[in-house]
Symmetry: C2
Subunit: 407 residues, 2 copies
């Protein structure tokens, strides 16, 4: 039995008209496979409306009850779409997380998939041609509803594709695919035909919101080819898949950026063992994710520690740092929210040197000051003043020849 | 463990303010019992909005998918209320139909309760002080979501009270209790302290919408005392319970009415065996509920058959009757929608004669023409012209001395 998993995002199922387009995509899927598993997000806006409701009802809504509440969003879209398929003469039914079941841990609001009963799914597929699965949701072993966190429907789809051995997992959205950078700020941005999992992970973590980062990790782990494509046209989209030599020929695959950065610096920190733990331990305990970290060379036994965080965490971070600074005897804490991060990403960097130098030179030449640098095997991330973001993206896109397919 | 079941209707949970009142009622319930099972309806309007959505998506929405869709209404109210209870320091959790489980048959949209896992409920009650149960919903043995039909949350509550041995099943609504008749058309209508199940059934079937008819049948069958009371004051409400001698002392307990009546007459029907079956068989097949039926004495081998139906069924009924009339050789079919039914109801009628005669005399004296009559052991139903409804209700209410408690 050849099974195809197709996932449709919130904008793809927002209205009856949109859902009719989705039905065409599913009908097309049935021509390419024996059976289709269609994973749906909640209709655009529904999840936020439900979260707003929870926020009205409680300042600190119980997470388990919140999952019961927000999971209704996908329940609504899945049942409506199943009706529409049946109206179109397609044998279909909806399936909620607990009906499969898709078992998760008890991390309400950000649960992780533990197991999926693929035998049960295959049983349902004996009876139906299309299973409309409510994405984003699962349940614990003791039958409590969970959700997989923002973008969790992507993860649902990839996990289902993995256990069902789907040829590809098609992620339908309102864009054509993954672009070399944001087309809104760089008119020469180009849709990629293929991208490696690792590259996609870096793109996703930088705010290229086309795929949820966890779904990419999942796809990479289980080697599920993921195709990002549009519900509203027939473009083949972008295939997210394993690295191959053609990808490595390219130095840089994409340029990403992230405005959600705030920089915090502790000046005059005594350079003694354990000081980094004293700074970052309390942040980690409070759930603050630290992104870039730079520690300057010690001078006179004193050093500076600089790091970046999400802007929403700035207030709590400054509170924690005030205490930390006094504990460790740091001179002062300063911060800056007018910063942003641009990154060049590409698996080709592994085999080429000088990529970072080219990036720095290009930015410097245009008068953009580099505030912080962080590099990984396949990424160079550069913190700059926020006002230069668009310019920096275009410079790097141009520098690395992403305007045209050079392979 | 003393368990109290409390049910809260759609207007009681419509807003955050309302739900806070409901929380007070639950907290009060916890003073009177060890544990409370709170059964919630969907927030007022939610169910209709969901049904409207289904109607937009499909002209004939799949009933199973419709249940998946509309059951989200109670899922939303139950999870919101559980949050509110937890915020108020009450140990609580929501429970959906499938989580209990409350098992029903597969009659989607009008499912009947088959079993409730009361051991599981008692297990949950070890851990929580209040279980917030999503009313109206259950699931089949093979884990498909079902709903119990309009007013089904009342049935959920009574069924839970039955299996849990709840002292009373409290049905909270936006009225004080059950009235001797509609206070909107009879200012001397009086709230009853007690009413027998049988009487309540007749009142409910006549459109006294304070309790759903199936929940009363259920309560009668399992001898669950049901108390109808208001969320918005402290009135003890009306206890619906088994008949006792005090009830029988009263000739008539209440006056009900129903405007949703249409009268259809077949004239000149050959009075031969099987003619009634020929008339009512096809109606039954099409799901048309026939209320009153009168067949005149035969004259010259011809008779008239008159019956009443709900107005929404008139069009289909006339279609069916046109065919039937030609099949059985009836002369003509006439109809009238300007009719309504008034009823006097009371278990005391069993032991008293002359109740019907008093009713007819009172109406006739005021010039109200009696179109049809139907009597049962505890009810006299009279079809009149609709314009006389309010007047007839007041006359009967007065005739049987319902203005003041005469017991």
């Amino acid at each position: 039995m050849k099974i195809l998993v197709q996932k449709f995002g919130g904008t793809s199922v927002a209205t009856l008209e949109c859902m009719r387009k989705v039905r065409e995509k599913v009908a097309d899927g049935l021509k390419r496979a024996d059976k289709v598993v269609a994973v749906l997000s909640a209709r655009a806006g529904d999840t936020n409306n439900l979260l707003d409701l929870a926020g009205q009802w409680s300042k600190d809504p119980d997470r388990a009850e919140c999952d019961v509440l927000v999971s209704t969003g996908e329940q609504v879209s899945a049942s409506l779409f199943a009706m529409l398929l049946k109206d179109g003469g397609i044998k279909a039914r909806s399936l909620l997380g607990w009906q499969i079941p898709l078992i998760t841990d008890a991390g309400f609001g950000r649960a992780r998939v533990r197991s999926i009963d693929s035998d049960a799914l295959r049983g349902f597929l004996e009876e139906y041609d299309v299973l409309v699965v409510a994405g984003f949701q699962g349940c614990t072993e003791d039958k409590r509803i969970t959700t997989l966190g923002r973008g969790g429907s992507d993860t649902s789809a990839v996990a289902l594709a993995a256990v069902l051995g789907s040829v590809e997992c098609e992620i339908y959205t309102d864009v054509d695919g993954v672009y070399t950078t944001d087309p809104n700020i760089c008119s020469s941005a180009r849709k990629m035909d293929r991208i490696a999992y690792n590259e996609m992970l870096e793109m996703a973590s930088m705010g290229a919101k086309v795929l949820h980062i966890r779904s990419v990790e999942f796809a990479q782990k289980y080697k599920v080819p993921v195709r990002v494509r549009s519900t509203f046209n027939d473009d083949p989209g972008t295939l997210v898949t394993q690295e191959d030599s053609s990808m490595e020929a390219l130095l840089v695959s994409g340029i990403a950026y992230d405005r959600d950065q705030a920089r915090v610096t502790l000046h005059g920190v005594p350079d003694v063992p354990g000081v980094a733990a004293a700074v970052f331990g309390p942040l980690s305990e409070k759930g603050v994710l630290v992104d870039m970290i730079v520690q300057n060379t010690s001078l006179d036994g004193l050093t500076d520690i600089t790091f970046t965080i999400s802007r929403k965490d700035l207030k709590s971070t400054l509170g924690i740092m005030a205490e930390t600074a006094s504990n460790i005897g740091a001179a002062e804490v300063v911060h800056d929210v007018n910063v942003a991060k641009v990154s060049a990403i590409g698996v080709g960097m592994r085999n080429h040197s000088g990529v970072a130098a080219r990036a720095f030179a290009a930015l410097t030449q245009e008068g953009i000051n580099i505030l912080m640098i962080s590099t990984s095997e396949i990424k160079i991330a550069i913190l700059i003043q926020e006002k230069y973001v668009e310019l920096a993206v275009r410079i790097l896109h141009d520098t690395f020849g992403l305007d045209w397919d050079v392979v």
